[in-house]
């Protein structure tokens, strides 16, 4: 790139990054603010100020860890994180068990109707959760799963399986068919070829599905919000708005900390697997 192109690139890319990242940067600033500093509208919201609203060189002495401590010691936040991990982990396992065989079959074995089935799977993804959750909540009650993490583990695959099948279909299509055919020629059964040849090669793709299915679970709000009523059984997405926003009282610093803590590791994972995701996504039904 020429010097001019480099400058133009930064002129476009940096403002976008600032706008997209700003809420998280500001959450980071807010989470360490003291109550008096936060509540005074004359104080700069970007810095940690003394009582008169002045900024000092040792600004960290005017910040506090109290609200982060509050989040971990006085609320169920650690439990919510754990619950989220449990639900996400269990759902990912169920999703892989169902979606891997289906994705493989649609990519390789189904032939003509594989395309149609791919579109059909996508249509399932379009059914709004607000529609499904009335009957589903009844089902959950009937099964005695109300107020239990099992309710979420049962219901979440309803949206992770179509998505994962779609992605895995794409990954399996990108694996050269010759690899399997060679194994079949050597006398391996189709299932053996699947296990020994296809699975190892598609491991990065499967990991990608794991990450995105997990993050769909962390994101889910409406089922977690309605199926679970006791605080100890909530996931982060339902627990934070339920317990940390009480009427008009907002624990802003704790809320911001609660937001940032899951977002950062997820974003790092996304970044690491982005290229794989792109590959699987475009390989899906459009190739």
């Amino acid at each position: 790139m020429t010097r001019r192109q480099t400058i133009v690139t930064y002129l476009v890319v940096v403002p976008f990054a600032v706008v997209l990242g700003f809420p998280f940067f500001f959450a980071l600033v807010t989470m360490f603010k003291t109550n008096l500093d936060l509540a005074n509208v004359d104080h700069s919201p970007y810095t940690y100020n003394d009582l008169a609203g002045h900024l000092h060189w040792d600004f960290w002495n005017y910040a506090t860890l109290d609200h982060v401590r509050f989040l971990f010691e006085e609320t169920n936040y650690p439990t919510w994180l754990l619950n989220t991990a449990i639900v996400g982990g269990a759902v990912v396992v169920i999703t892989l068990l169902l979606a891997m065989p289906a994705g493989y079959a649609l990519a390789r074995l189904a032939g003509g109707w594989g395309q149609g089935a791919g579109v059909g799977i996508f249509l399932v993804y379009l059914i709004p959760p607000t529609l499904l959750f009335l009957p589903l909540s009844r089902l959950v009650t009937q099964l005695g799963l109300k107020d239990s993490l099992w309710a979420l583990i049962l219901v979440y695959p309803s949206f992770t399986v179509p998505f994962a099948t779609w992605l895995l279909m794409g990954f399996f299509k990108t694996i050269p068919q010759e690899l399997e055919e060679a194994a079949l020629m050597d006398g391996a059964s189709r299932l053996k070829a699947l296990r020994l040849i296809v699975l190892p090669v598609s491991l990065p793709g499967i990991l990608t599905v794991v990450i995105f299915a997990f993050s769909l679970c962390v994101n889910e709000f409406i089922y977690a919000f309605t199926f679970i009523s006791s605080s100890e059984q909530r996931t982060v997405s339902a627990g934070i708005p339920n317990d940390l926003i009480r009427g008009d009282v907002f624990f802003w610093q704790s809320l911001m900390a609660a937001t940032l803590i899951p977002a950062i590791p997820l974003a790092l994972l996304y970044n690491a697997f982005l290229d794989r995701f792109i590959k699987g996504f475009t390989g899906g039904a459009f190739r």
Binding site: F24, A27, A110, P128, P135, V161, T259
Partner: protein
């Protein structure tokens, strides 16, 4: 023992032989997923459709058959109409911003430059963060009293200009400094649209980058030989080739925005005065908060045919664009 083993072998072989055949293996591998989906999506879906034709209320999941009453009364309800209008506004306006933003950003993000990693990390953040949590961050940024956005606008001395602009364009008449982003009906529409655009943009950028990656290198070489550069190349070469994948990004964006419940619920609860309700939140308010299950199901159902139509159109165009 031996005789038994000998007898059972052909059976085993026949089984194994059957597993080798595509006609047997394919349905066998797809079946578990299909059965599961039929149970947790198919049955509730049909049930919900049934409910929308009944007067079911509260915890009971059945009621008297009322035909299309729920649909017609929803259609004549002012709140429903506004929710439908808002859903369309949020979806179309945010996707328009997203498509333009993603087309520009993706073109630059594929280049090599120093600090690309951190830029990419920041760009991906809104998509990676759980929706509910990032929306709570926006609730803080747009707070009626402590809004950092208003504070910054005031320090840059553009707050009054912005108020004048909203007034002059009739977007929000009679607004005052500091702007009540979530407290005034039309400003709240603007704010929610922007939050949707903000959270979908990274996803669209990623899909656009994928689209660029699928353009063969020969095209690049050929257009260079033909002397197509800069804007001309972008318009006549890059954009048409990115069209199919752009449609995919738009399709997903529309679905993500249209069915979203969390953003409106967290930011405004549908208020002020139901002015920002969308179909999912209105269905929730009617079906759950007020307990009219049948009516709530009918409201939710309005969205589905629209989404199916959008999907079919998009898939059709995506495939056609690819063939040509």
């Amino acid at each position: 023992m031996e005789a038994h083993a000998a007898r059972s072998r052909p059976v085993g072989r026949r089984w194994r032989h059957a597993l080798e055949s595509r006609r047997v293996l394919a349905p066998l591998l797809i079946a578990p997923a299909v059965v599961f989906m039929a149970l947790v999506v198919g049955v509730p879906f049909v049930w919900a459709i049934y409910l929308s034709f009944t007067d079911a209320i509260g915890g009971s999941l059945s009621g008297h058959w009322v035909g299309f009453d729920n649909f017609t009364s929803a259609w004549h309800d002012e709140n429903f109409r506004r929710a439908l209008r808002n859903t369309l506004i949020f979806t179309l306006a945010s996707q328009a911003i997203v498509v333009v933003g993603a087309a520009v950003l993706s073109n630059f993000l594929v280049r090599d430059f120093r600090g690309k990693w951190i830029i990419r990390f920041l760009v991906v953040l809104p998509w990676a963060a759980p929706v509910v949590l990032s929306t709570i961050t926006w609730l803080w940024l747009l707070d009626s009293l402590y809004s950092v956005l208003n504070w910054t606008l005031a320090r840059l001395h553009v707050d009054h200009a912005l108020v004048w602009l909203f007034d002059a364009t009739h977007i929000e008449e009679g607004a005052q400094v500091p702007l009540q982003w979530l407290g005034r009906p039309n400003l709240a529409l603007v704010a929610i649209t922007l939050v949707h655009a903000w959270r979908i943009l990274p996803f669209a950028v990623v899909i656009f980058i994928a689209g660029r990656a699928s353009i063969p290198n020969e095209v690049e070489d050929a257009s260079r030989i033909d002397g197509a550069t800069g804007f001309k190349k972008l318009w006549y070469v890059d954009l048409p080739l990115q069209l199919p994948i752009a449609l995919v990004a738009v399709l997903f964006g529309i679905v993500f925005t249209a069915v979203d419940f969390a953003v409106v619920y967290i930011l405004t609860h549908g208020g002020p005065f139901n002015s920002t309700q969308v179909l999912p939140t209105w269905a929730y308010a009617v079906g759950i908060d007020s307990g009219s299950l049948g009516a709530g199901a009918a409201i939710s159902l309005f969205l589905f045919p629209l989404l199916v139509l959008v999907t079919i159109l998009m898939l059709f165009f995506a495939r056609r664009a690819q063939v040509s």
